[in-house]
């Protein structure tokens, strides 16, 4: 995969071909809940990458003999669209796609509380609409927020980015040309809250120093991505909360800012689709986990505000919905 490293990828001023600094991420945009049928979904745009993630499950596994008696099976399907790359890709899954699917499944398995759902499968579908280098990483980032959107209990989110070598310098978040012409590529999946690496691969030639530098740079990048993931998740659920608050007090102002689609559909979905057992569990999870994260990771200012909101309001919202449903 890696090129010979002779192409000039960094100019005299230390800028890369797309104008970024060596340790700079591409612009990232994450939207949650973009596909209505899925239990959880996300769209990520990372540079020119456009990737959709959809989560279904926990659900029954076919064929049944593959089911595990003690935990859920996590199946990730990474697929590239035929038109996502310069030369049309054959629609049949390639060996590369199968391999990536496998390593992504493994990474996700490590953070999901799989023992809660024995004998089931949780399926994660990743469809690359446009590829611009680092698709497996962007896909993993999207997959983990889609899982959170589906209400799957997890130890933490995975944030993922590729680090590589361009003209013998370690650079963060390779894009297409650096991926092809650079001399090394190191995709990394990392959970900042757990301080765990759940995915790491490497091709090309790294010295030990370069490897160490690359790993640290990757972790720095993953932490930046983690903040974007959290923000995207909060955005969706604060929109739902505002809408419910609006039903109680119609005069509340915040509602105006909320995009229509999300407000209308998201709460419905939760009421109908989540089985009762989960309804009971879900609030617990939301209550306990985010504050923990906040306490550890976020700067002191944030510690006071968001946990309060989450703790007090989230369970109320759920109860209301349950009652309405009955």
């Amino acid at each position: 995969m890696a090129g010979d490293g002779t192409t000039q990828l960094i100019d005299e001023k230390g800028k890369r071909l797309d104008g970024r600094k060596l340790d700079e991420l591409r612009p990232i945009e994450i939207k949650i809940g973009v596909l209505k049928n899925a239990d959880g979904s996300a769209e990520i745009r990372m540079g020119k990458n456009i990737i959709l993630a959809a989560v279904y499950g926990p659900r029954e596994l076919h064929p049944k003999h593959r089911a595990l008696p003690n935990r859920a099976l996590i199946q990730c399907f990474y697929r590239m669209s035929t038109f996502s790359v310069n030369d049309r890709k054959s629609p049949a899954p390639s060996r590369r796609e199968k391999e990536i699917s496998m390593i992504l499944s493994n990474a996700l398995t490590s953070v999901i509380l799989t023992e809660k759902y024995p004998r089931t499968t949780i399926d994660v579908y990743l469809q690359v609409l446009q590829a611009d280098g680092g698709t497996r990483c962007a896909g993993l980032t999207a997959a983990s927020v889609a899982l959170a959107d589906a209400g799957i209990p997890m130890k933490g989110l995975i944030s993922s980015v590729a680090v590589g070598l361009a003209n013998d310098k370690v650079v963060l978040d390779l894009f297409d040309i650096e991926d092809q012409k650079g001399s090394g590529d190191l995709p990394l999946g990392y959970s900042p809250i757990l301080d765990e690496v759940s995915l790491i691969q490497l091709d090309g030639v790294f010295t030990l120093e370069q490897f160490e530098e690359a790993l640290h740079l990757g972790i720095k990048g993953a932490k930046e991505i983690y903040e974007i993931q959290k923000l995207a998740l909060k955005e969706k659920y604060s929109a739902i909360r505002n809408e419910v608050a609006d039903e109680i007090k119609p005069s509340k102002k915040e509602v105006k800012e909320v995009p229509k689609e999300e407000v209308k559909e998201a709460p419905k979905k939760e009421v109908k689709e989540v089985p009762k057992e989960e309804v009971k569990e879900a609030p617990k999870k939301e209550v306990k986990e985010p504050p923990k994260e906040e306490v550890k990771e976020a700067p002191k200012k944030e510690v006071k505000e968001p946990p309060k909101e989450e703790v007090k309001e989230a369970p109320k919202v759920k109860e209301k919905e349950e009652k309405e449903d009955e």
């Binding site: 399907f77 669209s81 038109f83 996502s84 310069n86 579908y125």
Partner: protein, 269 residues
């Protein structure tokens, strides 16, 4: 499509009873489509692309052009080829694997409307007769399935084709073809759209949502060009029609097609 989607008897009766009162579950008229959204040029690496939603049904279309050999029986024509994938991300009832019958039908019915309307002059896609022509791949991925994928696919294909840019070429001495950086827009001569009508009990409604589709007995997809020619037709599923009924449906569909074309032209202009 989504054959193992089970709908309860109560819900089925409800849909049928409402239809007998000339009402639909979502309040639409019988000849009314759900809200249509068309977005083009989403994928820059494709020669053309579009993402279309009809209600909650959502489909992305990408066009790729590659150089290849013509078919022996049409040595001076380019080639168009369509494929559809009912991605498992689109519905809990789709499974990954080789294209299902439903996917093949969707691709072929849409292909027919495009091919038969002559919306693209295939002879313009020929570079060297018998040797080198452009092959246009029109690939559909279903992203969210909520019924009536046919109309969305045709709208998507036409929106994507009308934004398609194909590289210019230079013919070298030994009949080698060099692909240049410069591109030119694909010329579109006609704008076919398809209208799908579903037969539910005794009633015929356009653009069924997933639940309506599940309780329907049959469907008819008709493609029209802007000169009101019928360019394609497909009856699907097990139900049957009276001849007059077919005529009635086609006349109704023609009226509906004009609205769809308005949406299409609005999106690509």
């Amino acid at each position: 499509m989504a054959d193992n989607y089970v709908i309860s008897e109560i819900e089925k009766d409800y849909i049928l009873a409402l239809l007998d009162q000339k009402k639909r579950t979502d309040g639409r008229e019988f000849n009314q489509h759900r809200e249509i959204k068309i977005e083009t040029d989403l994928v820059q690496k494709a020669e053309g692309s579009a993402i279309v939603s009809i209600g909650n049904s959502k489909i992305i279309v990408g066009i790729k052009a590659t150089l290849g050999s013509p078919f022996p029986d049409t040595p001076d024509s380019g080639v168009i080829t369509t494929s559809a994938e009912l991605s498992p991300m689109a519905s809990p009832f789709f499974e990954s694997g080789p294209p299902s019958e439903a996917a093949i039908e969707l691709a072929r019915v849409t292909d027919r409307a495009i091919r038969e309307s002559h919306c693209i002059d295939l002879s313009k896609l020929c570079i060297i007769p018998r040797k080198s022509v452009w092959i246009l791949f029109i690939d559909f991925y279903i992203l969210n399935h909520d019924g009536n994928l046919f109309d969305a696919a045709t709208l998507g294909a036409m929106a994507a084709l009308s934004k398609t840019k194909i590289p210019k070429v230079k013919i070298l001495e030994d009949e080698e073809v060099e692909i240049l950086e410069e591109t030119e827009s694909l010329k579109i001569n006609h704008y076919p759209v398809s209208v799908t009508t579903y037969k539910i009990g005794k009633n015929n409604v356009v653009d069924a949502n997933l639940k309506e589709e599940r309780v329907s007995d049959a469907r008819i997809t008709v493609g029209f060009d802007e000169e009101d020619h019928i360019v394609s037709l497909q009856k699907g599923n097990y139900g049957v029609y009276k001849p007059d009924e077919v005529l009635q449906i086609i006349k109704e569909s023609l009226n509906v097609s004009k609205n769809l074309r308005k949406e299409l032209m609005k999106a690509i202009s």
